[in-house]
């Protein structure tokens, strides 16, 4: 009797063990199921490289190039801001900060990671957006730049945490060897620790940027949502994620628009999948 019970329990455990694989596949299949239908009316080539996104005009124009460029522009801006600051902060926490301060800083970073994105978007709307508007004398502060700054903050917790882990797992004798040879602490960090932790730091940056590309609410609230090809970083843009979030509510289930938004979802899924698999490879290389 007990044997049967344990047999059932162990099978149940195995089943739950592979549930994650099941869910990833399910997500991809359902995106494909709903999204591929759009390619009956527009070729994949035109969908990706089409320059205009007017999903509800007649006939609908379904080109997501403006959205892709919007996402890339905002992500690039966020990368320029968050990588140096995030890695710098990781080095400070891992190597320089005294123990008490280290605990406080780590708690601060965890706090930032915990703030819901809609709250960050709200704060961005009432503080950052008017600031950008006044500093650059723009008609509106809802720009790619505002989005980049806000998103940089959302990428930083990921970058800091993983980069700090990478620095922490560099063997202690590397640093001690450098110090014994007469290097200063900074020389040891710059010439020895950073190169040794480079694959982990690279993974940290990739995962941070993965979070940025997938971020939805804050972006939708502060980038202005204009689905046009962006000419500069000081104009409103619209990202892939914001398009789905803003338009799915109005799209009729089974319409061309609905299928197109799922196709945008496929693009996002593929991007995040590629980023996560590559970052995972880098993280495993380290060990």
């Amino acid at each position: 009797m007990r044997k049967i019970k344990e047999f059932i329990i162990e099978k149940l455990i195995l089943l739950c063990g592979i549930a994650s694989i099941f869910f990833v596949i399910m997500i991809f299949l359902f995106l494909l199921k709903e999204g591929l239908a759009v390619f009956k009316s527009v070729s994949p080539f035109k969908f990706i490289l089409g320059k205009s996104w007017y999903p509800i005009s007649e006939p609908a124009q379904l080109g997501i190039l403006p959205l892709i460029l919007g996402s890339l522009l905002v992500t690039l801006g966020a990368a320029i801001i968050s990588i140096p600051i995030g890695v710098g902060c990781a080095i400070y926490i891992a190597e320089i900060a005294p123990l008490r301060l280290k605990e406080i800083l780590k708690a601060g970073i965890e706090l930032l990671a915990a703030i819901p994105s809609v709250v960050l978007g709200f704060i961005g709307m009432v503080t950052l957006v008017p600031m950008v508007k006044n500093v650059f004398h723009l008609p509106t502060g809802l720009t790619a730049l505002s989005g980049s700054i806000m998103l940089a903050f959302m990428a930083m917790p990921t970058i800091v945490t993983i980069a700090e882990d990478a620095l922490y797992s560099v063997p202690k004798n590397y640093k001690e060897g450098a110090l014994a040879l007469g290097a200063t602490h900074w020389q040891a960090i710059w010439r020895v620790m950073l190169p040794a932790a480079s694959s982990g730091i690279l993974a940290a940056v990739m995962l941070g940027l993965g979070r940025v590309i997938g971020e939805t609410m804050a972006v939708m609230m502060i980038t202005g949502n204009a689905a046009v090809l962006p000419q500069s970083i000081l104009v409103p843009v619209r990202t892939l994620t914001a398009t789905i979030a803003a338009e799915m509510g109005e799209a009729v289930v089974g319409s061309e628009h609905y299928f197109a938004l799922f196709a945008v979802g496929i693009v996002l899924f593929v991007i995040s999948f590629a980023i996560n698999v590559t970052a995972d490879l880098f993280l495993h290389k380290k060990q």
């Binding site: 063990g17 359902f30 995030g86 809609v118 997938g214 996002l268």
Partner: protein, 282 residues
């Protein structure tokens, strides 16, 4: 480089600066929301339904909606996540399947939240015909927080010393008895920490519930699992972008309640973790 110590001082100054650039805005965000949100909080704000097109009244249905969604997500995700963690830490061998499962978990954690929304819409709302409902939203959120629960529980299980298992097995206990009576009880604080973090994450997410459950304006409480419901994060989005002329007090007040809810959960998780670390007997 002329003077390496001078270079070091300059470098350390910039590292300190970048740390400040992260920590100071975080502090400011919290201070602004507390300062402007706290005056708007009253018993009436917390317990009344929204009135006059959300320009007056309270946020009670949104709070209740979020509580329903979060509990639903955990009821679904905790058993699956915990058993998955048991599989990874106690049963799996270092083989291809193990590697693929870990990769799937990493990917599940990395899928953009709005894609979860699409998935929930396609599977639960349309395919299973649940419609926009609490159950559809809860299941979507549950799948989203699954990686958090699995990762935290696995770490907790793996940190139980191997000798505990050996002793139990050598006394004649079966593998499942060992897990059930020796490994699990010792991993409870870690599992609890992960679960609370998952609760916090589920409470704050907006994109997954946009098309699966969230009602724009529903000034009553949901009656069943198949009802639509309001939710705090979506309510904050609506009153700060979709409805013009909402009093600042109501916006900041809503942001305050949401932030307080999420931060309290995180605080609880940190407290449990630290207390456990101090008490650890091995």
């Amino acid at each position: 480089m002329k003077n390496p110590y001078k270079a070091q001082n300059i470098a350390f100054f910039f590292l300190f600066l970048s740390t400040l650039l992260i920590v100071v805005p975080v502090g400011l965000i919290v201070v602004i929301i507390v300062q402007k949100g706290l005056p708007g909080i009253s018993w009436q704000f917390l317990s009344d339904i929204p009135r006059q097109g959300m320009r007056a009244g309270g946020i009670f249905p949104a709070i209740i909606g979020t509580l329903y969604l979060v509990s639903g997500a955990i009821v679904f995700a905790l058993p699956i996540g915990l058993l998955a963690a048991i599989y990874l830490s106690e049963y799996s061998k270092d083989n291809l399947l193990n590697r693929v499962i870990k990769l799937a978990i990493v990917n599940l954690a990395g899928v953009p939240s709005v894609v979860y929304g699409l998935f929930g819409l396609a599977l639960f709302v349309v395919f299973f015909k649940f419609g926009a409902s609490i159950i559809a939203g809860s299941l979507t959120l549950g799948i989203m927080v699954l990686p958090i629960i699995i990762t935290a529980s696995r770490e907790a299980l793996e940190s139980v010393p191997y000798s505990f298992r050996e002793v139990s097995l050598s006394l004649g206990a079966s593998k499942w008895q060992t897990i059930r009576h020796i490994v699990l009880p010792n991993a409870v604080p870690g599992i609890l920490t992960g679960t609370i973090l998952a609760l916090g994450r589920a409470a704050g997410e907006t994109a997954p519930i946009l098309f699966t459950v969230a009602a724009f304006y529903l000034p009553r409480l949901p009656n069943s699992l198949f009802d639509q419901a309001m939710a705090l994060p979506y309510h904050l989005y609506v009153i700060s972008t979709q409805v013009p002329n909402v009093d600042e007090k109501i916006r900041y007040g809503t942001a305050f309640v949401l932030l307080a809810l999420v931060l309290l959960m995180n605080l609880a998780a940190i407290v449990i973790r630290n207390r456990f670390r101090k008490k650890k007997k091995w």
